[in-house]
């Protein structure tokens, strides 16, 4: 018999509260299981031999010394792998050159795999990989995307002349759905302008650097004909789809598990060569395979982010009214198209409208192959780039017109009564109140006081500046017509026979705390303690369907699916309770661990008693099936558009050129919040990455395509000493596109922080005649501005 839980008299409502995380006990005690913590009997270790040239034809591969080593099980060259594993698919409808998981004849970036070692031990496998000798006929390395577009100094894929992966996709005013272009409106807008700001800007390449590198364990069981694959992934269901297809298996025969995942930031969406290779070799040899990425390997083998050049032309009247925007984008996508690579820069086009009424916009996009690691999603994925280009141009316009940057923005905001607002680039903003966020930020930061402080510091010869940026991003992307993976999420809620609740979600967290936030929601929905709710995720053997966690979608799409599934099962449970209590279903109330009749709570039953009845229903109420388990797919009708305003103060050291962030105030509007503590953590993390982009992070390639920032000794990742204490505030503008009113918050911090810091540094150095400084703010670059030599 199920026992009634001992409960407090009144359960507090948890949604909206700073509930501490249920994930943490295992994580703070070293008891969590990440991929590298898994061991399976007979498991062998994979190490990849990778290209050390950026572009070259493989002349020969000698694996004999490696094969002779004790403990080496097998060695495969790319050509041998190609006998049982085909080229990798992508997830977007763009044309794409063949991409073998292990290079067959030509290597196209430093780190391109050329051979695979399987050995009993990771040390042995590395020794063997080192013993493989590869000779290349080196080809010219294509490194500069603007030269690459002219086919210089060579062509990387023979069917893509001038290295054009995607050629000049136009969007905006005067461009119809078929791509026909009418320039009259945009030309008229620019003719009517009294001032035009034109600037080439670079949004530099970044390395995501989740603290847990990638890893995979693949276990094909020949007797069963089934595969289990554990991977450090953001989306096990998408992984399952691709692993099954590439191994000639059905989706029912593959189980994909994301165990504890140590951060993603977009780079663990893509399905990688290593996952395909480990699964295919496991299937071929019939033994479990493990591959764990080294950090230095991650710098070449895991997708990079950003790397877009923007040519911005912003047209306005002298009173500050913006009349038109042209944004010509050139995305350096590296050597290959990966899962979402080609789609990421299209989000930059989509968000070119920013927070403003801009009557005419024209964007164009060219995506270019170069001999570099491929790009794909990285936190923000296309939106920080758009924000950066437009906000920097707004600052330059404010400077040109001698206007306060806040007042210029205020003058051009889309107004609250204009929502839903269809932009010139085809987005339909759901809801917003940009002026409210701006005013809150100005007040919280004491913008007037900051200006006075800056002026005092400047008068003393200190190089202090302030900056401000607005942002709007697109999250929770749906419906399915706008996301190639499908734009829905799935959930199932089961009331167990003892009255406890288990729920599955297709969202697959890797730090987002969904076990807590989703637990809060179900606890409130059913009036039970959160301790009685278990949230299951990250395993296609348990979670029937799902998309995954990216694009700040967990709460807005996954949370909404959970809410719907919970509503379905609650409705059924109410019918069982109505039968038990001989009451009308509409009079049934769930609260404080009991289910009773409205106005007569003492008459009720415990939650567990009603659950027990549902599984042994004697008699079975008419029209009901036994049991309490319901599922839901939620597909939003539209995306959500969170927004906010970030303000910073920076001081540049006159002697060294080093910028120091003195203050960062962020106002973010993510709609309704489930757990403000977790939301703060998400914003802090986003700010840290946005500040990192502004101040210290950059992937650098040499002219011959060598990665100069190939380890954590060379690539600057922010440390605790790089940040002041962030000051967070929020406004709340719920979205109408999901039942929770939640918009999503995972990426927000990366959008406003980068441009507002660049603005502050430009402000600090305005005495030297500088109007724009390209990312990132390397001290040498600033020193040259201060000391007369241009960077």
């Amino acid at each position: 018999m199920p026992t009634a839980p001992v409960l407090p008299q009144v359960l507090p409502k948890l949604v909206g509260q700073r509930v501490k995380r249920r994930e943490d006990p295992r994580l703070i005690q070293g008891r969590a299981t990440y991929v590298d913590d898994l061991k399976i009997t007979g498991m062998q270790h994979i190490v990849f031999k990778r290209s050390d040239v950026a572009h070259g034809r493989i002349r020969s591969i000698d694996t004999s010394a490696a094969q002779a080593m004790e403990g080496v099980e097998a060695v495969f060259t790319g050509a041998q792998i190609a006998e049982f594993l085909g080229p990798m698919p992508i997830g977007t409808p763009f044309p794409s050159p063949p991409h073998h998981p292990v290079a067959v004849d030509v290597v196209r970036y430093v780190g391109d795999p050329v051979a695979v070692v399987v050995a009993s031990d990771r040390y042995v496998a590395k020794d063997a990989a080192d013993a493989i000798v590869v000779e290349y006929d080196v080809l010219p390395a294509v490194v500069d995307p603007e030269l690459a577009m002219k086919g210089q100094p060579g062509v990387i894929h023979k069917d893509f002349p001038n290295n054009l992966a995607v050629a000049l996709v136009p969007s905006g005013t005067g461009v119809d759905a078929a791509g026909n272009v009418d320039d009259s409106a945009i030309d008229k807008a620019f003719r009517s302008a009294e001032v035009v700001i034109s600037q080439r800007m670079v949004n530099q390449r970044l390395a995501p650097n989740a603290m847990e590198p990638r890893g995979v364990v693949a276990h094909y069981e020949p007797g069963k004909g089934s595969m289990t694959i554990w991977s450090s992934t953001q989306n096990p269901h998408i992984l399952r789809t691709f692993i099954a297809a590439m191994n000639g298996m059905g989706q029912d025969q593959v189980r994909a598990i994301a165990p504890e995942v140590g951060g993603g930031f977009g780079c663990k969406i893509n399905i990688y060569a290593e996952e395909y290779v480990a699964s295919a070799i496991s299937k071929r040899l019939g033994i479990p395979m493990k591959w764990i990425e080294d950090r230095s390997e991650a710098f070449v083998a895991t997708t990079h982010g950003r790397d877009i050049i923007g040519y911005v032309d912003l047209a306005a009247k002298r009173d500050g009214t913006v009349v038109g925007l042209k944004l010509r984008l050139i995305a350096d996508i590296g050597a290959y198209n990966m899962l979402l690579t080609a789609a990421i820069p299209t989000l930059t086009m989509m968000m070119a409208n920013a927070t403003y009424n801009i009557p005419a916009i024209r964007t164009t996009l060219t995506e270019v192959f170069t001999n570099k690691t491929p790009t794909d999603a990285y936190r923000g994925a296309g939106r920080p780039e758009a924000t950066y280009f437009v906000e920097r141009a707004m600052d330059m316009l404010a400077h040109e017109l001698h206007m306060d940057p806040a007042e210029l923005r205020r003058k051009n905001f889309i107004q609250p009564n204009q929502f839903p607002f269809t932009t010139q680039v085809g987005a339909v903003y759901d809801s917003g109140d940009y002026e409210k966020a701006l005013d809150k930020a100005l007040k919280a930061a004491d913008w007037k006081g900051l200006k006075e402080e800056r002026d005092r510091a400047q008068a003393q010869g200190r190089l202090v500046g302030i900056g401000l940026a607005m942002y709007v991003e697109v999250c929770g992307i749906g419906p399915s017509s706008s996301l190639p993976t499908g734009g829905w999420e799935h959930a199932q809620v089961t009331i167990e026979r003892d009255g406890r609740i288990s729920a599955t979600t297709g969202a697959s967290p890797h730090g987002q705390g969904n076990e807590t936030t989703f637990g809060q929601m179900l606890a409130d929905q059913f009036g039970v303690p959160i301790e009685h709710v278990t949230i299951l995720h990250g395993d296609t053997g348990i979670v029937k369907q799902g998309i995954g966690t990216f694009g700040s979608r967990s709460q807005a799409v996954g949370g909404a699916a959970l809410h719907m599934a919970g509503g379905k099962v609650k409705s059924k449970m109410a019918r069982f309770a109505a039968a038990l209590l001989e009451a009308g279903e509409e009079d049934i109330v769930f609260e404080n661990g009991r289910i009773g009749v409205k106005g007569a709570p003492a008459s009720g039953k415990t939650f567990a008693e009603v659950a027990g009845f549902a599984y042994i229903p004697v008699p079975l109420p008419e029209g009901l099936e036994p049991g309490l388990s319901e599922e839901a797919f939620f597909e939003p009708s539209n995306n959500t558009y969170p927004f906010g305003c970030h303000i910073s103060m920076v001081e540049v050291d006159r002697e060294t050129g080093e910028p120091k962030l003195l203050k960062l105030v962020a106002v973010d509007d993510a709609g309704n919040l489930i757990n403000p503590l977790i939301v703060e953590g998400q914003i802090h993390g986003g700010l840290a990455q946005g500040i990192g982009q502004a101040m210290i992070e950059e992937v650098v390639y040499s002219e011959d395509g060598q990665l100069m920032t190939g380890s954590l000794m060379d690539y600057a990742l922010p440390r605790a000493t790089d940040f002041p204490r962030f000051e967070l505030h929020s406004t709340v503008t719920p979205t109408p596109v999901n039942p929770l009113g939640a918009k999503g918050v995972g990426e927000a911090g990366t959008l406003g922080s980068t441009p507002c810091i660049v603005a502050a540094v430009v402000d600090a150095l305005s005495g030297f005649g500088v109007k724009h400084i390209d990312l990132m703010l390397r001290p040498e670059k600033l020193w040259r501005i201060i000391h007369g030599g241009r960077a």
Partner: protein, 153 residues
Amino acid sequence: MPQVSITVNGKTRKAQAEPRTLLVHFLREQLNLTGTHVGCDTSQCGACTVLVDGRSAKSCTIFAVQADGSEIVTIEGLAKNGDLHALQQGFWEEHGLQCGFCTPGMIMSAVDLLHDTPNPSEDQIRAGIAGNFCRCTGYQHIVNAIQHAAKKG
């Protein structure tokens, strides 16, 4: 192959170790103490931080044979009789972690920090954990977590 004898979390362990085996791999692979993580290969990230004879050390910079005869505490050995260490409690209370991968090393570094400086200023905390990377939190809640533990200490 040399034999090493290392006391880990109060228990003496004897095992064979290749001279080149890193202490972190010895802990993880031989002793199955997988709470200590490997986040880089250049001793920058600090995810592998443990206490060696009472002081924090990056266990990827030490060979197992060098640790012969020493006393090591890993994250698994921090809680006593089921009671969380003040730092573990602090990280939980103050949301000092998200993905959790850097957390064991971060906590072990903080143990050493509070050992030397029981009431650190915010700047001292930030400097004290500058050898540990976290990509999720922006460090602010980690600072709060260490302050929380310092107050309890």
